[in-house]
Amino acid sequence: MKIKFKLNGQAVETDIRPDAFLIDVLRDLDCLGVKKGCDTGTCGACTIHVDGKPALACVQLAAKADGQEILTIEGVRDQAKEIGRYLVAEGVEQCGYCSPGTIMSILYLEEQIANPSDEEILYYLNGNLCRCSGYTGQLRAIRAYMDSKYKEVNKNETCA
């Protein structure tokens, strides 16, 4: 079957199997930053944004994407770079396999709460599993990123 959707800002029309999962279709479309970790929507490695909200590509049927706006890590490379700098500064990207999904969740959190508390960070990212880092260092990195963003925003507002 044919579906049409917006992928990282571009209109896409593709032929899919009716039982295809979105993750496989996205990876076929060269969005290889979307990672498969568990096949059951549990680990968060495949986190993308669907119509502006985080979603798990490994458990969403691709057919449902018809008419939707899909955003993957490939569509937010600049922001990923900015957040990524904080992660690599702490060494908490480690194997890196969970990083793109985690960054997609961080971006959503940022949209929802300008300067989240530690508890809010943990709450919003609880669905993004990481086996390497133990999370503590990731919290340090995300805290530092959020603090710097918040400062920047506040500074700009003062200037305006």
């Binding site: 990672k35 060494g91 880092s133």
Partner: protein
Amino acid sequence: MKHVLNSPPKKDGMQLVQGYPVYTDDIAPKNALIVKVLRSPHAFARIKTIKTDTAKKIPGVVCVLTWKDVPRVPYTRAGQCYPELSAYDKFILDEYVRHVGDDVAIVAAKDEATADKALRLLKVDYEILNPVLDMENAIDHETVVHPEPELFTHINVGCEPKRNIACEVGIELGNLDEALANSDYVFKARYNTQAQAQAMLESQRSYSYLDQNGRLTVVSSTQIPYHTRRILARALELPRHQIRVMKPRIGGGFGSKQTAHSEFYPALVTHLTGKPAKIVYSRKDVFRGTTSRHKMRFDITLGMDNEGMIKAIQMDGLSDTGAYGEHAQTTFGAAGKKVLTLYNKVKACKFHGRVVYSNNVPGGALRGFGVTQGTFALESAINEACRTLNLDPIEVRRMNMIKKGETTPLINMTTKGAGDEPINMDSCLLENCVASGMELFDWDAKKKKHESLNQDSHLKYGVGMAIAQQGSGLPNIDMASATIRLNDDGFFTLLTGSTDIGTGSDTAMAQIAAELLDVPLEKVIVHASDTDTTPYDSGAYASSTTYTTGNAVIDAANKMVTAIRETGAKFFNSSPENILYKDETISCESSGESIDLASFSNKIMYNMIHTQLSVTGSFVPKKTAPPYMAGFAEVCVNTRTGETKVTDFVGVVDCGTPINPNLARIQAEGGISQGIGMALIEDVQVSDNGTLQTDTFMTYKIPARRDVPNIRVALAKGYDETGPFGAKSIGEVVINTVAPAITDAIENAIGVRIRSLPATPEKVLLASLEGVRVAEENIETSSSC
């Protein structure tokens, strides 16, 4: 130092976080055949027939292979140096399936849907056999897991397959009976550790193709490219020179990829069809078709005097290796030798036990590699004895643990090629780890605070601690090598066979090289893990890369500096002793001339001398260089639900010089988190017929962000003279103290001792209710009197 003891970001970090295609499945050829494995639904069965003709007729199915189509050569999948200590007990496919998930048939098709369809249409007629699932009953069970005559071991490890014994391990020092008889107090208890899954986020996967010369090339998410080449060659009956194994970026290992798994199937398909082939394990494939931590049981007997001096330790154990014996002997042996050597003041100690075959999913390597299991048992027993005798566990550790400069003959007895000379632990900072950990944790103040917090509350706080060690590579077994080339424009290529599995070891190796080559880090390009182009390395296991490969890089870098000076002498028409290399400049002291490295490399390559400087260094660990750790846990137990929350964890690690302190700290934080999972949550569970009840992340839970506290780690300021710039290992030691510290904290909080991991809410609640029931019965009995 410019690079060592600094924390530059990992060289690959920015590419990884932005999701660039760098992992195995990202770079596999798009036209690769999709390979899938049909897995056994039965724990033990003989395949009577497999009907393949319907599956073969599906358009797009390229091959269907059963046990009749593959070479019948026994081998071990364990990634160990040859000759391995693991039994050769596995065939690619066999007439017998020995665990739920064991491989039955291989299918290759043009796409995933076709391969799945073919799997569904394979009709297998099984003769279901009676499985042996309880390790306690495995020895001399009527079911023999490996009746086949081909099974053999290279080295006598006490393997008796007809009795379901994979191996036997015994270590003994002094006269145990006498030491126990001379003890004021003898403590005995039984401890069980569960099968834990590695749960790396990237599953096993690999792809293969024939190169331009018709050689089989396998790209795999592996920790052991060189061992994989050797194992594949044997299994496929190909000469080793016909195989190349490469490793791209790896999405985590933790030991899961120290056993070859996914490689056989696409490699065989490519070998037979000439076509590129790929397999990506589903999470179910990982749980059912690979390995988990060996389940172990230890009976501990501890002899102490009233002051807390430990006189005797006996560890009598049993380990379940499941259907195949990968890493059976080595994990179990480590549970003895790397645990008992912590307590060097005993009069006698004895470790004995067997590893048994069963029809469970095989045991394998997982961070800590047996030491984790042994540490849980012994540290728990010492903590329990302390509570019974009302002794301070920290003081008892101070009295009994190994200290700087000390040794025990056990180290000689358990280290290959060690000789008789005492091997002193000159870099051991365990004492400092305990002292500074206690301070950082605020042990005494916390205990005081809990007294008031716990009053009249259903939330009870408690504290516990434990100590542990591990190794740094395997002395006289592991070997690493590194090649360094000077390129034009003055940058270096560092070729190593070591396998960065996400830890950042490529970056640490570059830091070591850059330090000695006196260049900025970006001028050391690391290329690793390609059996055709990089020099041999035994692999990323046994906490070896920083220590073993690091030393090989030092050897190579020193040789490169010598080569630069020798070539500089030719360049300046002088002799090497007059040539100085520093700060990317080669200068001739006698003539006062100098040239920068970039111009020098351009000139010697393009204009004069016409050479490329290339050197290779290598290293074999000679002396054991154990890292040490003290771990302190604070828990809060909800007495209404039995739920345990870790509210604080402090780990102080002696890893010698941390080459990259940030990356070292994350190893510790990650290991502690994995330890919390083992202590409280994780358990590979099997039903009565051997079916896995936990084969997805929905049923097998690993710690999420809110399951771990803010882990606090400190690195002791250590230095081991045999390590690169003083470094020892850190990757594995960090998991060992966690479970015994947490279960001790639970006892401190609510008076309940969990001796069988994990300490789930159900177990804790039942045990505490049992305690209440016993107490009530005692009251009733006394009142009736």
